[in-house]
């Protein structure tokens, strides 16, 4: 614990900033109902009311409180992106590790299937699948998790391949150890650390993709508050010179920048380079 605090103190300013922002977002997401002045989809006034003491950021196209929806949006948008990323990692890295250890036809089948999925642009494939399964939170999570699992698969496989060629894995194999032991004791502890930084990076992509889909009206569905759809619903205000609709977009950007700063720092530390 002390060692972690010590590392944090030595971290560059950008990383500290990133950590502070992420903690703030988590706080808002967790305590959303306590922090928000109104209900998530409660109509509190007329459409497009300006900023005031009651409605801090005004109201939206249906007369709902913008500030409240921002706070609930943190919970929905981040929560869904996080769940999606976790599923993608669980599926992708498990498949990647198996492919690396077993090699042979398992590896061939999985890798070629992944090649095909990756050769279709992410958003396009997501749109195709969402047409089929319809736009709902479950299908959104499933579809995006599936697509990103393919990227995770490639990375996890490459990392595990790097471990598999090590002499200590060969030593365990010729000792007679079983597959399960080799995966658990030899591969996983060495392959997991590089994947942690990758998790942050992939979370950003998932987060941006889901926001993009929501902005297109194909992601998180109303009346749930969500940052991507909030921009779309209120975008017409921009042509009147009011930037309020961009606050959710800025919130998306800020979180992504923050996570990127942390990832940069972790990668930098891992590579052992000078600052």
């Amino acid at each position: 614990m002390n060692a972690i605090l010590h590392e944090l103190r030595k971290a560059p300013l950008t990383a500290k900033f990133g950590i502070a922002v992420v903690l703030f977002y988590i706080f808002v997401a967790v305590f959303a109902p306590l922090l928000a002045p109104f209900g998530e989809s409660e109509v509190v006034g007329y459409e497009y009311e300006p900023w005031s003491a009651v409605n801090w950021l005004g109201t939206d196209s249906l007369g709902r409180d913008m500030a409240t929806r921002m706070i609930y949006g943190a919970r929905n948008t981040i929560g869904i992106a996080l769940v999606t990323t976790m599923i993608a990692f669980a599926v992708g890295s498990a498949a990647g590790f198996f492919a690396a250890v077993l090699q042979g036809w398992v590896d061939q089948v999985l890798s070629r299937a992944v090649d095909v999925v990756i050769s279709i642009p992410t958003l396009i494939f997501a749109l195709l699948l969402l047409t089929i399964f319809g736009a709902s939170v479950t299908s959104l999570i499933g579809v995006i998790a599936l697509i990103y699992a393919t990227f995770v698969y490639r990375i996890a496989r490459a990392v595990a391949m790097g471990v598999v060629v090590m002499d200590y894995v060969e030593a365990a194999q010729v000792r007679g150890e079983g597959l399960w032991w080799i995966m658990r004791k030899e591969i996983l502890p060495n392959a997991a650390p590089p994947l942690v930084a990758e998790f942050g990076l992939r979370f950003c992509f998932v987060f941006l993709t889901i926001s993009g889909l929501s902005f297109l009206g194909l992601g998180i569905q109303p009346p749930a508050a969500d940052w991507g759809s909030m921009v779309r619903e209120n975008a017409s205000l921009i042509t009147f010179g009011d930037l309020t609709p961009l606050i959710p977009a800025a919130a998306i950007g800020l979180l992504t920048v923050a996570v990127n700063f942390i990832v940069d720092w972790m990668l930098h530390k891992a590579s052992g380079l000078k600052t």
Binding site: V116, S119, T131, F215, L216, G217, L246, T256, N260
Partner: protein, 318 residues
Amino acid sequence: MHYLLRLFVQRLALGLLTLFVVSLVIFLSIELLPGDVAQQVLGQSATPENLAAFRRELGLDQPAHTRYLSWLGGFLQGDLGNSLISGLPIKDLISERMYNTFFLAGFAAVISVPLAVLLGVIAALYRETFLDKSINVATLTAISVPEFFVGYILVWLFAVELGMFPSIANLSEDASLGDRIYRTFLPALTLTLIVTAHMMRMTRASLINLLALPFIEMAQLKGASQRRLIVIHALPNAIAPIVTVIAINLAYLIVGVVIVEVVFVYPGMGQLLVDSVAKRDFTVVQTACLLFAATYILFNLASDLISIASNPRLLHRK
């Protein structure tokens, strides 16, 4: 040379095979649809006669492989079928839009590719300096914010506040090139900003990887200047990675184009695709997806072939 030719043909065949499999995936994905397409489209109130007529018209009464072959066959002959919803030929729906989308993406690519490579080289040249760190923070921000944020900020700045460019990029069919460029300026700028940031970061990273190799230190010890080091010694070895970066980002352009078209209400393929997804117009979605995917696969194939052609180990065999 014989060997290289074989490698080329191999890659070409592999690319075509991928394209074939992708078309199969796109076609078959519709088969995954829970329930019956006709029922989904016509709704619960449709009479059995209507449903039967609808199926016959779309060939849904045929087995899947027959439909796939006739779909693919039609595709190769330029017959893209009809929209499920409006019944109009898809070809008429997309031909104009396709041109518009390629114009927008091409516009952005022409600016961003040279700009990104140049900035990447400069950042690598002055790495770890204030300039490099500023570029790093700026590009990191650019790739972190959603595409629609960049789009709307530009709308607000150039259309609302400054009134220099239109906020909506509607095009008439007979618009002159100058007019086109004027109207597509903001969407193109949005795409350029995002794609340049991505591409520049990757260019810098691949160059810096290269600079850690022993032959670069050797060139330094032979007395090469910093500029000569990068331009003469590193760049010829960076062609493959940089071309790959460009291919990845041109693909990114395709994705970005969808969202940017919606922001600027631009009459392109992306807009059409999003509308069709909302309306669940499967045939149009299939066609649009296949066209986007094909473009992407062709870019990757091209980058693959260029990488092979730039590798001295493959060009000059032992």
